[in-house]
Amino acid sequence: MSSPFILDRTSVTQVMAWVLVALLPGIAAYVWLFGSGILITLSIATVTALAAEASMLKARGFPVKPFLMDLSAIVTAWLLALSLPSLAPWWLVITGTLFAIVVAKHLYGGLGQNIFNPAMVGYAVLIVSFPIQMTQWAGPLELTHAHLGFAHSAAIIFGADTPLDGIAMATPLDALRTGLLQQNTVDEIMIRPNFGHYGGIGFEWLAGFFLLGGLLLWALRIISWHVPLAFLAGIWLTAGFLHFFDPGRYGAPWFHLFAPSVMLGAFFIATDPVSGATTPKGKIIFGLGAGFLTILIRTWGGYPDGVAFAILLMNVCAPLIDTFTQPKIFGEAPKTAK
């Protein structure tokens, strides 16, 4: 054992715990806006993730307790659960979580080794495999006026009740996409009752609370400003550019920003250090690229939202970005002088 002999007591567990804490405002808003069903989804995902993590650790011959205690599996579970449609069926949650933990995390080498963000891999697998279930959202309570009790939510999730009868509703991004495909202009779509100030009613508040949690992470220096700011800037600039040239065919930049997936993506998912770029410049490129791709996919892609695919695509680029953005070291001549 050699120096140093002291260390900061911050641990991976603490970092992950703060990420979970920072998700709480968003979860509370979710419950308030969409009902308590999300708590069931979160629980299913958590239990599945921990079980999958424990068995994978055991299978790979790792000590289970210290690695389970790092809480990274729970972070993955929560991020995936919060990305799924509200009241998503139980098997959808389990399938996505299993894929995230078993394939995207452990088959790639476990904590710290995964190329792709596990939660986003889980999400991508689900949206490719189960597009119908993945786009059926139970609308915000404010619009559906449903009295979704905990028991009722559980019944829907576990398939004992008719799924989403009368409360299903397109997400704002989906509504925009479908509206545009039906040759409506953006203005015509935006005056529909499910749109609020910036984004969709309910959804924009949810986005705001995820943003709040993200700012907490930044204030605690768990994340740096680079990726979130660049990601939001990428969205805003790309959407703004398109909107400026044809406001009738392309949604406003604020509308694109105030989607929950964007705030979750910017502060909690794109900031995943394992699968993201690590140099300061690299983080900015990573964020800008993810924002840019998100708008491209939303506008011309096959799915209403593009955050997950954009982040996965940028995950592929991260090692290359890092290689080409190595910062100047102490005492090194400026790169241009070479």
């Binding site: 054992m1 120096s3 002999f5 002291i6 641990s11 603490q14 904590l111 001549a333």
Partner: protein, 560 residues
């Protein structure tokens, strides 16, 4: 005094634990029954013993002489009898023994005759020779021979002279206490440095968590006839690292792979200035130094300690406590664990830090790296420790060097902040030592190849020489019957071009070998420790000799 200060990136605010030891008075030297004095007190070639077993020595008497350019003499720290010149455990993490001189003290503490040096009348090189014989070395940690550091380069002067009183490592207060109590003497030493280096800009950097030292030094600086700026620098580890302090004070970055003197800046520790004062004005060799004894002891304190005193004697003097879990030489960030408690104090010993489970709980086991880059944020050398870790772990030493492994100063900031508790610095040390080992192997292989190539060349040459001789003899026999002037022109025409061609061939072969070597040489010869550099220099010297040997026969050929 409102000098603009600059900020180096990274660094840490650490709990400093200085108050424990810096308020007690300086403990006078204790005289142990035995002094074990290592001959490797400095970086460079170890000193060579000049006393024999059984000989009586006086305090301050030279017992081992400087050997080679980068070296310094070693002296008896007290009077007594030489009892052994043998291998003893020295303060090194390896626990490997090294050559030491053991003196049984006689309790008289009887000095040799000391003569102050009149450094104004002596030439600088004479002063330096004296300092080398007085064992002066840098006391900031690297223990580089002081005489070498006081030699100006080709430009004749180092415009900037910095005295380092930052002392950024937690627990250590020996420089702080020295400045509080001996500011005037430090300034005297500084004026000698100024005299030898011809500096125009003299700066003293002291971290702002030492207000008493700052006040004392400012007071003493005012009495000097040369302008000296005493500057409070922000307390941020490793602000006392030479490169970091230079950046803070001057805004200049020492270029990667170069020395501060390459940009006209020389840095000394305040302790070195004090030792220089003693050497010049008192004629005293470096036989004692200030040492902080802190951590798990009853009375953390600073002590004037004779070189060669066993560390355990310092711990006893500071009050032993139960539950010691080991001792460090140096601070908790860069200190070296001692193999035993009775290893002797050397010139590099600034602190003896006694560990306990409460003060230094055992480090938690490591988790995988999650690439959070806290290490990169903390790195004062602006490296990407997470990448270096990845390369070191996978033995990808080429990439590690591309990512500037050798610019790592091993300050420990990365390991300190790592939430996965990975002992990152261990990995870098491992990678560095592997690279050095491989370079050494490669050098040896190159040498063998060169020898082999020369042997082949020699064999061909001998063969062709034989053939020439035979041909010449045949010609003489033939010439016996032909006119003499014809013969002369024939030999002149044939012998010269042949020799020229041979010479060209050899030159080409040597050039090829050198080019090959230059191509294959890894970049790791940049920024090595002085010790390694010196080893390399020795190897190079040997190779130069071989090369010279390869040329010699040619010259012999020319003469007859």
């Amino acid at each position: 005094m409102n000098r603009e200060l600059f900020r180096f990136n990274g660094g840490l605010h650490l709990p400093d634990h200085k108050a424990e030891s810096n308020t007690r008075p300086i403990h006078p030297p204790i005289l142990p029954a035995r002094l074990v004095i290592s001959l490797r007190q400095h970086i460079g070639t170890p000193a060579k013993p000049i006393v024999s077993v059984g000989e009586r020595v006086l305090k301050g008497q030279m017992i081992a002489a400087a050997e080679g350019i980068i070296s310094a003499a070693v002296h008896a720290s007290s009077s007594g009898t030489v009892r052994a010149i043998d291998l003893q455990t020295v303060p090194h993490a390896s626990g490997l023994p090294d050559l030491c001189i053991t003196i049984e003290t006689d309790g008289l503490d009887q000095w040799v005759t000391r003569t102050p040096l009149d450094y104004h009348t002596l030439s600088p090189s004479e002063v330096r020779a004296q300092l080398r014989d007085l064992g002066l070395v840098g006391l900031g940690g690297a223990v580089f021979p002081g005489a070498v550091k006081l030699e100006v380069g080709t430009n004749g002067t180092y415009p900037t002279l910095i005295l380092n009183g930052a002392e950024c490592e937690p627990w250590i207060t020996c420089d702080d206490v020295l400045m509080r109590h001996h500011a005037a003497e430090i300034m005297q030493g500084l004026s000698v440095m100024h005299h030898l280096l011809g500096s125009t800009d003299i700066l003293i950097g002291i971290e702002d968590n030492k207000p008493e030292a700052l006040a004392a030094m400012r007071g003493a600086a005012a009495t000097l006839d040369v302008p000296v700026e005493v500057i409070a620098v922000p307390t941020r580890y490793p602000g006392g690292g030479a490169k970091q302090l230079i950046k803070t004070l001057t805004g200049k970055e020492v270029p990667s792979g170069k020395l501060s003197t390459d940009i006209g800046i020389q840095v000394f520790n305040v302790g070195t200035a004090f030792a220089l004062y003693r050497a010049i004005f008192k004629g005293e060799p470096l036989i004692s130094r200030m040492v902080t004894v802190s951590g798990h002891v009853q009375r953390p304190q600073n002590m004037e300690v004779l070189i060669g005193t066993p560390m355990v004697a310092l711990i006893q003097s500071a009050g032993e406590r139960d539950g010691r879990t080991g001792i460090l030489m140096g601070g908790p960030m860069m200190g070296v664990p001692m193999p035993r408690e009775d290893v002797p104090v050397v010139k590099a010993t600034n602190c003896v830090l006694v560990k306990s489970d409460a003060l230094f709980p055992s480090l938690p086991s490591a988790l995988p790296c999650i690439r959070c880059t806290r290490c990169a944020d903390a790195c004062p050398a602006d490296l990407q420790p997470q990448e270096l870790f990845r390369f070191a772990k996978s033995d990808d030493f080429g990439r590690a060097q591309e990512y500037h492994l050798f610019d790592c100063i091993e300050c420990g900031c990365c390991s300190y902040v790592c939430p996965s508790h990975i002992p990152l610095v261990d990995f870098y040390r491992y990678a560095k030592s592997e690279i050095w080992a491989r370079t050494k192997e490669k050098t040896a292989a190159d040498q063998a190849r060169e020898r082999h190539e020369f042997r082949l060349f020699r064999q061909t040459r001998e063969k062709s020489e034989k053939a020439d001789k035979l041909a010449a003899r045949a010609r003489t026999q033939r010439a016996a019957s032909s006119p003499p002037d014809e013969l002369a022109s024939a030999t002149a025409a044939s012998a010269d071009p042949e020799a020229d061609a041979k010479k060209a061939l050899i030159a080409a072969a040597i050039a090829r070998a050198q080019a090959k070597k230059a191509d294959a040489a890894p970049k790791n010869t940049d920024n090595l420790s002085a010790h390694t550099q010196q080893e390399i220099a020795e190897i190079e010297a040997r190779r130069a000799k071989i090369r010279a040997a390869a040329h010699q026969p040619l010259e012999q050929e020319k003469t007859p």
